[in-house]
Symmetry: C2
Subunit: 123 residues, 2 copies
């Protein structure tokens, strides 16, 4: 079984965390042909944490987990905190295949989205 | 004169802040017909701060500033901290036109980008 795990920062504000769960739901119909399981996790301030989310995916039968860190820039969270938690789980489960994609902000589309948001504002 | 101001979180890691400055440079050729000035600012951990960036744009002659909060989710930074600093500057400069766009993560393209990032990984 193959799982997709999106890792967001997490917030004290429920509205913020709910956006992440809503993103997972909007992804579900588009990813159901490639992924058996979709899951959100948070670095801090909201459950599930990264380790708990990976454990839950393993319990559900995941053998491969593809992870997208949902962050815009490569601060400490992206460069240290998130990889640290993933590595800890990988060493607990050496047979689990974990692939971590570049963080969201590396997407080549970012510049064009900003241009479009501004064009929409001017329209 | 019309200015675009992108407000990012800011990081202790230089590499993270440099990404924001690089984003401004990648936007420059695409926005030069609509904006006379482009500027990055940071909520914390990197200069210029929001107030200093707005002051600098005013000094350069900006009469209208369009602001994009470069955040993925509506946590406290988006809902309180950034608006608070913008409002403080607006009350100091009542003749300045400031328009704050919805934060970046509200862009309708987000779901499709995630799908494309995963498809690229599988390719």
């Amino acid at each position: 079984m193959r799982a997709f795990l999106l890792i967001a920062h997490g917030s004290r504000r429920t509205e913020s965390n709910e956006e992440v769960f809503a993103l997972i739901e909007s992804l579900r119909p588009k990813l159901e042909s490639s992924y058996d399981l979709l899951q959100a996790a948070f670095l801090e301030l909201c459950d599930p944490g990264i380790g708990a989310a990976i454990d839950s995916l393993i319990e559900k039968g995941a053998q491969e987990i593809v992870i997208l860190p949902y962050f815009l820039n490569q601060g400490r969270h992206v460069s240290e905190d998130v990889p640290h938690e993933i590595l800890a789980k990988q060493s607990q489960h050496p047979d689990l295949t974990i692939k971590t994609l570049p963080y969201f902000g590396k997407a080549s589309q970012i510049t064009d989205i900003v241009v479009k948001l501004l064009a929409k504002h001017d329209a």
